[in-house]
């Protein structure tokens, strides 16, 4: 089967699964699960991971070598535009001018929901400063359009709260974002198991980013394998064009959407 690559900020990727590096038992497990996932883009929480800030501690980049993976620094743990911008600049310095970042500005510690006004402000500053900004956001279709207009290179609506494992809560919002987007739409946060990732891709998302669903599974490496297959399954099903839903086998009784 042929498929177009995923293109983000002029970089091409074969895999449409993006993974995080938090919550693993140790760096060995991080490396093994990342490899099993088939991911090419790996996001790193700069405030919680050592990618060289402390030369005396184990370096995450030994498990996730930048020669092999596209490192995507993120601003997890930032609760203001100012903090997020500062964190991105630090990342660029540590990674020799690497411009691609995942922006997240959080609203509170309990929900880890995005604070959208600060997110807009940080996105504007970062784009002006030459960053290629992939942006974590609510699933608000209007905000998605505006963040694209600001110049973000990908929009990353949440499926459900970070770490919740609840799966996709609002398919209509995702569809609306996908229908209108001129940049890749990646579901970020909320995936719990393989079918959730498949559903996201079947809706037409360009990719899925996850961390807890893999790192928190009983067997993380096995779940990484599951997710690799799930993203391929959902993507291929989207491209293959599913059968319509009908109440009965008979072609003459299509579902009219009025009763469920």
């Amino acid at each position: 089967m042929t498929d177009d690559p995923l293109v983000i900020a002029n970089r091409s990727f074969q895999s449409r699964l993006l993974v995080g590096t938090g919550k693993y038992r140790d760096l060995d497990e991080t490396g093994a699960a990342t490899e099993a996932s088939g991911a090419e883009i790996v996001t790193v929480a700069l405030r919680r991971s050592n990618i060289g800030q402390d030369p005396d501690q184990p370096n995450l980049l030994d498990a996730i070598p930048p020669e092999r993976y596209t490192i995507l620094p993120n601003t997890a743990g930032c609760y203001s535009a100012k903090d997020a911008v500062r964190t991105c600049r630090l990342a660029r310095e540590l990674l020799d001018g690497h411009n691609l970042v995942k922006l997240e500005v959080l609203g509170d510690e309990k929900t880890l929901y995005p604070e959208m006004r600060e997110t807009f402000s940080a996105a504007e500053t970062l784009v002006a400063d030459g960053f290629e900004v992939m942006v974590y956001m609510t699933d608000d279709p209007i905000a998605a359009r505006q963040l694209e207009e600001i110049g973000c290179v990908a929009v990353m609506p949440l499926a459900a709260p970070i770490g919740s494992g609840l799966g996709i809560q609002n398919r209509y919002n995702l569809l609306e974002i996908i229908d209108n987007a001129g940049v890749p739409v990646l579901v970020d946060a909320g995936v719990g198991t393989a079918s959730d990732a498949a559903v996201a891709m079947e809706l037409g998302c360009d990719g899925v980013l996850m961390n807890s669903a893999i790192a928190g599974a009983r067997e993380p490496v096995r779940m990484a394998t599951a997710m690799r297959h799930a993203v391929i399954a959902g993507r291929e099903a989207y491209l293959a064009g599913r059968i319509p839903r009908k109440r009965n086998a008979s072609a003459s009784s299509p579902l009219d959407g009025t009763f469920f």
Copy 2:
């Protein structure tokens, strides 16, 4: 990742996806989609397929060679125990003593729902006659237990009506059947797209059988690929042990199931 094989009637299979052969454009497409699916068990509607009854017509077994695939004759189109039993006996004759069959006795043409009383009766006759009976049925947990007691080698509850593409309607019934079963539980009928197959496997089903979802897709071979990945994804996710669902990222706020 290691996994136990799927064992049905002492035969072992690596693939947990079973496919049908109906509704394809031609035998080439049947062969290509079957191969892409990775299926090892292929079900054949004896009343609608030529597997040698008519030596002057194209033979389905040229596209699906029995040396390579386990052929599973089914009784699609039978509306009584008597018809179903006769059809199985004809299959055994055509296939040189092959005993493994998929029994379906239908209740009406509109829904293609199983007629359970006739199904019980046919199962009893066929088991007594030496057949290894995989049985299409409603998702009734009590009936599943009873069909196993009669001696069926696999129970095959529907997820939704044949050809409907509606996906799994009643997860609780499937879980109940799975929890109690001593024989493989295979979801049969109702799958619409890849995530539906993944969900079935995540619930703990031993396998999934489908036909319309692949043959009716815009690109059947591509959908067969999607389904192959989806069944692996769901199986691996089941074995890997998913994260629990929680309302929030904080581990201290588990979902208590009271509100949705």
Copy 3:
């Protein structure tokens, strides 16, 4: 608003909510909740309730006087056709020739699922013996049609397991039963809260029977009130004809059912 009455076996009822009498704290609460529910048909588990079998114990019929309510004896706790038939005959004796019964034959104690083969057998015997049989059943559309053919005066598919509070699991099966039925279709078992009852009525059910959802609520009398309103709400919404589902406000974008 005018509405046809609910007619079961030539008896007319204004209320479409039927209630059980089990699990209340005492007979006072039973009486108060029953009154608040507005129900006119009240079902009584003959094996667990004293309606005169033991003249020395409190009599349920003091709280639920037969002059005011239509008493519907049921065979809860019966696991065979034989037991169920005997129980119905005992009820008829105790209630001076009262013929209307709710038949339930259970498959096991854990799920309280109906045992359909015994249910068929008991229904045939009871109908032949002059009973008016309302029958608890799985949501199997073929079985519903057959039980009607046997002569049952109402079919009562479960929404979910008894006492589970899970709400309606399979809307398609209920719709199929409703579309084909010539007798009233009453959802029996599985309702958890008010919206579940409303959904059942919106699908076109003729009524809803419940017990645990009311008796097990923190405030049973209040929940009885809620259910009374919910059944009216669902019925009136069904008759009023809801708006179609659309992805957007614009009338030109109807939901085509292909994406969720």
Copy 4:
């Protein structure tokens, strides 16, 4: 049953159903449906309704007399903070100093989604100008908290797009908003039928506002009745405390939320 009244900006209401006045056939139907709904708060789109701007046309307030109903002017059709603020000021003038308004600033004509940045801006201006602002918004929990902090007297998250009839898409967001709110939370937009309104109330919303679901029904007055009962049903069920969801009748098998 006793219940606290709904209190918005120090005004008390018995009814928790709020209705709009658009899309009716004529003013007679508007009046009849409004009365049947039992609503005490009636919202009026100032840009589309004549409440005195044109003395030569029929006046909506003849059908919905302000002596009887609390008129809630809204800014439907406004796509900027500036327009919305101007519209509210015009309303105040027409209604003799009436300060209570429903603010909506829309993002586009297709989805009628709120434009949140303009909504924040308009809310700040209106609150400073002495208005009591009820605010239509996305279901973003962080934004809800911030709009309350600005001084809005009620937050009104959408359940689904205006006029879509899709029902509540994201229960988790609503629950999060409800858990944190110090002002009433009213679901606004997206209700399709009675059970949707009941679900909103069961989640703990303080009220529900709708228009299309009633005005667009085949029989609007009947649907208004249905909605009146549905809101009461959902509210009473919320207060009564529903039974927990369990997989089986047995109390020892509570749902652990891991499988669906």
